[in-house]
């Protein structure tokens, strides 16, 4: 395990890390899952700067810190901070870096996390920078896959929904590319995976194929990763109405699927997984969210050198 690779270093993009780093985080997350309440962040202050609201991600980070007895400062949306007065990101970060040991930042502008990491004297953890990266989500996805399949290697992964704009899907493809996967891509024609990612898969000799129905590939799937089709992605509301119900996972679709299949979703869910799936033992999305707490504990502890 190469824990030194994380020490004092900002976590900005999944692309900054390799297979060994992912496995290190998985190993440490497993430790926190077994011992989630500890005293290791005692005396540490973690800033959570949410320039746009993301309740789920923020609560997950704050739960992770609270369980390790750290203190939290921050804001939950930019309208309540000095950003509203016109303060630059650089000034906000440099100021908050004086008050904290680590900054967790969510920001709507792409590349803001890299920039924050350059101007901050304390490490920055990217909790989402616009449509670009959300590395802790990807790492908790990996952890959930590992936990449910007992391996990350040689899995058949079906990605469903908005594959064009879905940040979590793009990062998951990049991260899983180290583990010899096979991808099934299920999306409306207008929301297909962008060419740059298909090119990436081809270059890495990773098999993939595109489908229009969930049921086309569900029988051979190990991980069914469902994402939300966002209304705001469609300029024409009629187009949205046409596709919104064609990518809904219903409980009966899971009949005859592999025993080890698990359904993942980055949440929030709207209607793309019908509620009758929730009680199916193959539904894993709420446990997946819980895994986020352990993964975030692992990341913070690794960066601050506390483990």
């Amino acid at each position: 395990m190469s824990k030194e690779n994380f020490l004092g270093r900002s976590l900005v993009s999944i692309l900054d890390y390799g297979k060994d780093d992912y496995l290190t985080i998985m190993e440490v997350a497993k430790h926190f899952e077994a011992n989630p309440v500890q005293n290791i962040l005692s005396g540490k202050v973690i800033a959570t700067l949410f320039f746009e609201p993301s309740t789920r991600t923020r609560l997950s980070f704050e739960s992770a810190v609270n369980k390790l007895n750290g203190k939290i400062i921050g804001f939950t949306d930019a309208s309540t901070s000095s950003v509203k007065k016109g303060e630059s990101l650089k000034d906000t970060i440099q100021t908050v870096a004086n008050y904290s040991d680590l900054i967790v930042m969510r920001h709507p502008i792409e590349g803001s996390a890299r920039y924050a990491s350059e101007v901050s004297k304390v490490p920055v953890v990217n909790a989402g920078d616009g449509a670009n990266q959300h590395p802790t989500q990807t790492l908790l996805d990996l952890y959930s896959i590992l936990k449910t399949q007992n391996t990350l290697d040689n899995l058949e992964i079906t990605l469903v929904g908005d594959l064009k704009y879905g940040r979590t899907v793009h990062s998951l493809i990049m991260a899983m590319s180290h583990f010899n996967p096979k991808f099934n891509l299920v999306s409306p024609p207008t929301l297909k995976l962008p060419d740059e990612y298909k090119l990436f898969l081809k270059e890495k000799n990773i098999p993939f194929a595109e489908f229009e129905n969930i049921t086309d590939t569900i029988k051979t799937t190990d991980i069914l990763y469902v994402t939300r089709i966002q209304k705001e992605r469609f300029s024409d509301p009629i187009e949205y109405e046409k596709v919104k119900n064609s990518y809904v996972l219903r409980n009966e679709m899971l009949e005859g699927t592999k025993d080890n299949l698990r359904v993942l979703h980055p949440l929030p869910r709207v209607n793309e997984i019908s509620t009758d799936v929730d009680s199916n033992p193959k539904a894993y999305y709420f446990q997946q969210a819980l895994n986020g707490v352990y993964v975030r504990q692992a990341i913070i502890a690794l960066i601050l050198g506390l483990i």
């Binding site: 692309l15 502008i109 590349g111």
Partner: protein, 154 residues
């Protein structure tokens, strides 16, 4: 009637650097990128000179100035065919071509309107990639690719 000798004569320099084969339309950008407007050396510019390869080319002769490789390579994006002649005692002692650097700082605007470099006072930084034989710039901030066709100078 005797024909005039129409050959263009730009005075030779004793020591320094001659940058040749600059596309004529890019001369002023090259001046800007190399900050030639801020140095106090003797500089001669020629532009709209005939060139078989470029149509119209520009040339810059700078006395007593020798560039570091990193510095001169910045112009490779806009003048990929530029050639450098290093002059010592009126003789060309070395010829060089410009090479694309691995990283480009400033100079180019990120194509992504949602990139932090287009919002705050952050100089863009790119990693230079080759894509289908063409130059592509990957933004170090937003990670989006700016293709050769979309390269816009700052």
């Amino acid at each position: 009637m005797v024909k005039e000798n129409k050959e263009l004569k730009v005075s030779a320099i004793k020591e320094g650097t001659v940058i040749d084969h600059i596309p004529a339309s890019k001369l002023f950008k090259v001046i800007e990128i190399l900050s030639l407007d801020k140095i106090d050396k003797q500089i001669t510019f020629g532009t709209n000179l005939e060139s078989k390869k470029l149509g119209r080319k520009a040339i810059i002769k700078i006395s007593d100035k020798f560039f570091e490789e990193d510095e001169i390579n910045k112009i490779a994006l806009i003048a990929p065919d530029a050639k450098l002649n290093i002059i010592k005692d009126y003789e060309v002692v070395e010829k060089k071509v410009v090479k694309l650097p691995k990283q480009i700082h400033g100079i180019v605007k990120c194509v992504n309107p949602k990139c932090i470099t287009n919002y705050e006072d952050v100089p863009p930084k790119f990693t230079v990639l080759e894509k289908n034989g063409k130059v592509a710039l990957k933004c170090n901030y937003c990670e989006k690719i700016t293709d050769e066709e979309n390269i816009k100078l700052l």
